[in-house]
Amino acid sequence: MLDASTTTAPRVAGPAEPADDDLELLLLIRHFELSLLDLFSAGKLNGTTHTCLGQEHVPVALGPLLGEGDYVFSNHRGHGHYLARFRDPEGLLAEIMGRQGAVCDGVGGSQHILRGRYLSTGVQGESLPVAVGTGLHLKRHEPGSLALVHIGDGTWGEGSVYEALNMAQLWRVPVVVAVENNGIAQSTPAALQMAGSIEGRVTGMGIAYRRIESCDVHDIRTAVEADVEQVRATNRPLVLEFSVPRVGPHSKGDDTRTQEELADARSRDWYEVYGRRFPEGFARADARLRERVSQVTRDVDARPLSEWRDACLAPSA
């Protein structure tokens, strides 16, 4: 089994042509996020939203490795996680726009979504111990299932992360932490917020770890498939660190990075990489998904406002 030591995914020369389904999903998320930024500019959204531009491949790659019984805990940057699980842009957009058909009636909004075994919340680090509790339940009643938690690099500043990992390892809880390390937390570069490394911290607790540099969904799956199976078989937690570029702003219009930094991020974007490598198939799919999302947007935008489904929760009750 994967041990508490550094193990790096095999570097491939370049990405293979993605399966149609993967590409569809990647592009669905991409255009969904782009469309949100447009809606913001048009003054059609309020509050805040964090797009996952550049990080779409993580949930897309992990998706097929998950079963229905697995839980997914997401964070503020969770649209891709949701779409990869449910392929439901209507429900999510309605949630963000507060329209009928919203997954959570517009109460939760972009950062707070619960649907079946998927849950996101907006306080960084909070979901890790919750995932450990969930994993304990699965271990007892549904062995072989696991809880997957997405967190960012900046979230490793929070003490909760360590409290949770310690318990997960002590008690052998089937939790997988997918770290989307985009090298930045809001405006703060990783070097200014993280001493040492995620790998060092994780292995220091005796926890299994793997780093993934590739943005190729097939390669990623190949690299982590066995590790994830090990979690199911042994109930030992696992941390996967994905090196990803943040191609968009933190939320909206708040990117303070230099032109070079942005250019570097874009050069590592799966969208660029895939687009350059398979220009034709890619462009067709790209156009198709752009159109699909714009239909969804028009549809949702035309809907009436959402209502509290559970009348007892409404404050007037």
Binding site: C104, V107, G108, I113, P129, R140, M167, L170, R309
Partner: protein
């Protein structure tokens, strides 16, 4: 007064009952494993009988309340124990931003069966970081209900009620009660003990002879109930003042209806708690009383609480700060003097 087993035994039995009846029951917190059974022994015997369902955790208050949240979200019944209530501040985020909000922030009601037990209060010389009555800080969080251990209530009933709510609850337990004996229905030489409310929401005690309206109703939290009773006895014996003692099992949200009639007929109302001054539970109770019965009130509601101070370690200094029976007695006398 009629006396039965010790409060800590009642609590322990209540937990054993939950565990026996509910296969999904968990207890999580520090040093819970036998033979230790938790710092105040409330969990004794559970880890031996139900080894997989008692989780003795590392020192990680925020973390283990988070784990409790996860267990509750997946449909289990979870009791968490914070060793000293002061440390509940370490888990404030998991309690208020996660547990309570999860019930409603996803649009449809999410059921969470979860009770966080917090030993609180002073009089034991544990010093400033181990002695606070922290109840008031958790008031007014939607879907977070607050209960307090009382000498009246059977903890088995209270636990069942909390679990039945399907939303996170905090159960505050005044450490000074653990070793004392429970009060049961019936009479002692002077007082009659009983309950008000269809679900026994309030424990009550009143002089056996004073069948008419009370001079004063004293609403007191569980931890201060023995002090309030002591004051009431003294007032009755020395001044023939009839005080009725009313002790709620649930602090928040508060429903005064079961005792509204009694309150409306009282000449004076005094509210007692151990927490220090400022933003008190009593202010909230008073506010509720003013709102409900402004027209019938014959005087203002008086609050008794501890001084605005840290809780000192040395017994003689601690005494000065914390509410004592004499403070209650004095307040009742003053209230009635006007």
């Amino acid at each position: 007064m009629p006396r039965s087993e010790r409060v800590v035994e009642n609590l322990n039995a209540a937990l054993h009952r939950v565990f026996a009846e509910d296969e999904s029951a968990y207890l999580i917190g520090e040093d819970l494993a036998d033979p230790y059974g938790g710092a105040f022994k409330v969990g004794k015997g559970l880890s031996t009988k139900y080894p997989g369902r008692v989780l003795s955790t590392p020192l990680s208050e925020s973390g283990f309340v988070g784990v409790a949240n996860g267990l509750a979200l997946t449909g289990n019944t979870v009791f968490a124990e914070i060793m000293f209530g002061d440390f509940a501040f370490l888990a404030f985020d998991q309690l208020c931003n996660f547990a309570a909000k999860s019930v409603s922030m996803y649009g449809s009601r999410q059921e969470l069966r979860m009770v966080v037990r917090c030993p609180v209060g002073g009089h034991r010389g544990y010093g400033p970081t181990h002695s606070q009555a922290v109840q008031k800080h958790f008031m007014g969080v939607p879907n977070l209900a607050l209960y307090e251990l009382t000498p009246f209530h059977d903890s088995a009933d209270v636990f069942a009620e909390m679990v039945g709510r399907g939303e996170p609850c905090i159960h505050f337990e005044d450490k000074t009660l653990y070793g004392t004996r429970r009060w049961t229905e019936g009479t002692d030489d002077l007082f009659e003990f009983g309950f008000a409310g269809a679900r026994r929401e309030y424990g009550t005690a009143q002089p056996r002879v004073g069948s008419g309206d009370a001079d004063c109703v004293i609403i007191a939290t569980g931890g201060t109930a023995p002090l309030a009773l002591q004051a009431a006895r003294k007032l009755f014996l020395e001044a023939e003042t009839v005080c009725r003692l009313v002790v709620p099992s649930r602090l928040y949200p508060l429903d005064l209806s079961p005792v509204e009639g009694m309150l409306a007929r009282a000449r004076r109302i005094v509210v007692v708690e151990e927490g220090v001054a400022g933003g008190t539970w009593g202010a909230d109770v008073a506010q509720e009383i003013y709102e409900r019965m402004w027209e019938s009130l014959s005087g203002r509601v008086r609050l008794v609480h501890s001084d605005s101070s840290v809780i000192p370690s040395a017994a003689h200094l601690e005494r000065e700060v914390l509410v004592q029976a004499e403070d209650i007695e004095k307040t009742v006398r003053e209230a009635l003097a006007r």
